[in-house]
Amino acid sequence: MSSTAETPPTPSRLRTTLNPDRRKIIYGFAAVVALFVLGDILKPGFATASGIQQVLQVSSFVGLVAAGQTFVILVGGIDLSVPWVLNAAAIVMIAQASGSNGQLWLGIVVALAIGLAFGVVNGLGIALLGVPAVVMTLGMNGIAQGLSLGVTHGLTCSGCTKPPPMTLVNLMTGKTGGIYTSLLIWLAVIALVTFVLSFTTFGRRVYAVGNSQRVSHLAGVNVKVVTVALYGLSGVFAAMAGVALAGFGGGATVGMGDPYLFQSIAAVVIGGTYILGGRGHYLGTVAGAIVLTTLVSVLLATNAPNYARDIVYGVVILVILLLYGRGRSEA
């Protein structure tokens, strides 16, 4: 550690402003455009305004879940409890609102509170007990699943099979000013998360903790509070997606959250966030979520069989990671 060679040449300002992390975000959105073009070639009409909006709307659910996943992965964690926290929130919202618009807001609040509670417990187990994130969130997923199924007797209770209140359905499927309202909600979330990550002290602390817990602790950052808050947020975002999906899909079903574990992690990773934490941004995740969804839509447009989707998912993730990984010697 003591040769002149340890002092690398000073990087230029431009290269740092357009660092690899930011470039990945740009690549992500470029990939989205390319996929829409490809889709339109394979199936003319794929990339019309309404076609694009539909794809984006489906992306928004992945995007919501992946917002929380981005937060925890930024500090080197992972949230495997997403599927059943999402599912539990959807069930609770449906049961609480029980089809009436008057009860909807209370239902949403309770659902989000439950998401927050699960997330906070995750965070406490990880930050205070020192349980590895994989184990803690895996266990909590089971707990959420068992509670959801047990309490509702396998989703056979009277309240939990009710359709979602019409207000919610309209919100999730309707349009405002020619744009899907759900997309506008997602845009708001994107703006908020971006603001938090880039322009607040909390966001700065998230990156600090993600870079080094030890250094952050020694510099006076309350690492435990940050960790718990992030897992709490992840729970809230999963719950939010649950509520949105229940409104979009017409109710709560068993296993509705299952696809979102894989997709949320994939979106984060495709978006260029480093799995060991400290580097990445939600904007990348947004690109990742849209890439994944567009890809599936393109496949569906070509009438590819079901199993092909899984295979393509896997191949795409690996190829993208191989591209990112090239020239990076760490990890």
């Binding site: 590895p132 994989v134 184990v135 079901n306 899984d310 393509v312 998912y313 990671l321 990890a331």
Partner: protein
């Protein structure tokens, strides 16, 4: 030869007495997770026997023992494979997908006479090894995090499984099944013991030591002349092969093939390994512990049954058990560290 006088020896605690004691304490501390795992198995079995006796006014016999063992075998195999990978500080999320694929293949192909059955068993294990090799190549040469590599291959294997067996069906030949299983005697226990013994020997082989070294610290392992890349490759190949074995075992223990039947094993194999004391931070753990973990999780289901717990609550208790077991062992570990 040795001129001790030149060496001004550094003596510290010289007495042999306390040293011996310290070493014994060390031995226990090093193997504490394994001891905990064994205690857990025994404890769970005791609870099971008591609950069984209370609800049926009889003691469980060989049939029950056979049932538990048969159910624990696929998970044991998967957990041992998972352990190999975790020991190198990796993780294998593709276990479930590999089990889907091999389970489907086994249900379709393992029938029609001894020779075909044996041949297909070998082919399926080779497919597992090939899948593992793919993981290993991507981890070792692609420099991608294991969790991401195996997340990708999980999806690929799941897709292949659905391609092989689009809807549940098929079954393994009865003769083949009875080779592993016997409803009236826990003959499958023999396989478990063999698996454990194989591990004990493996732990003492060159590759065994190299796996531990690689998981402990890659740089240091290199400095100790460990071929890190080869070790990683082999670990994933072994992991894939064991997952394939688990897929075959799953096909023999269940009535038919299902291209999604293996999915749950990704997470339960991790759970079994962790309950068995395998450290997710690499370099610490034992496959014997993982087998114990697999039995703990299997017996837990039977306990819940006899405790009259609604099966719908099953995942709740499994999750709770996992969190509590790991949380408690972390706390105990921290307490021991502080006492040192």
């Amino acid at each position: 030869m040795l001129e001790r006088a030149l060496l001004s020896p550094i003596s510290g605690r010289g007495e042999q007495g306390p040293r011996q004691l310290a070493r014994r304490r060390q031995l226990v501390a090093q193997n504490a997770p394994l001891v905990v795992a064994v205690v857990l198995v025994v404890g769970m079995l005791a609870i099971y026997i008591v609950l069984y006796a209370i609800s049926l006014s009889a003691f469980p016999g060989t049939f029950e023992a056979a049932s538990i063992t048969d159910h624990a075998i696929p998970l044991s195999l998967a957990a041992v494979g998972q352990t190999m990978v975790i020991l190198t500080r990796g993780i294998d999320l593709s276990v479930g997908g590999m089990m889907d694929l091999t389970n489907a293949l086994a249900a379709l192909k393992i029938q029609g006479g001894f020779l075909t059955e044996a041949l297909w068993t070998v082919i399926i294990l080779l497919i597992g090894a090939a899948g593992g090799l793919l993981n290993g190549l991507l981890v070792a040469f692609g420099r991608i995090q294991p969790i991401l590599v195996t997340l990708g291959t999980l999806s690929i294997f799941q897709g292949l499984a659905l391609w092989v067996l689009p809807s549940p069906g098929g079954h393994v030949a009865t003769g083949y099944t009875s080779l592993f299983l016997n409803p009236n005697a826990p003959s499958a226990l023999l396989w478990v013991i063999l698996l454990g013994l194989a591990w004990v020997a493996f732990r003492r082989s060159r590759l065994g030591v190299q796996i531990f070294a690689t998981g402990n610290d890659e740089q240091s392992a290199r400095a100790n002349s460990v071929p890190v890349i080869r070790t990683r490759l082999l670990v994933y190949v072994l992991g894939g092969t064991l997952a394939a074995g688990a897929g075959v075992a799953l096909a023999t223990t269940s009535t038919g093939g299902d291209a999604t039947g293996g999915d749950v094993f990704t997470l339960s194999s991790i759970a079994a390994a962790v309950i068995g004391g395998v450290s997710l931070f690499g370099g610490r753990g034992s496959a014997v512990g993982a087998i114990c973990g697999a039995f703990v999780l299997t017996v837990l289901i039977d306990i819940l049954f006899f405790a009259n717990v609604d099966p719908l609550f099953q995942p709740f208790f499994q999750g709770l058990f996992l969190v509590l077991a790991v949380g408690a062992s972390t706390l105990v570990g921290r307490y021991l560290m502080r006492r040192r």
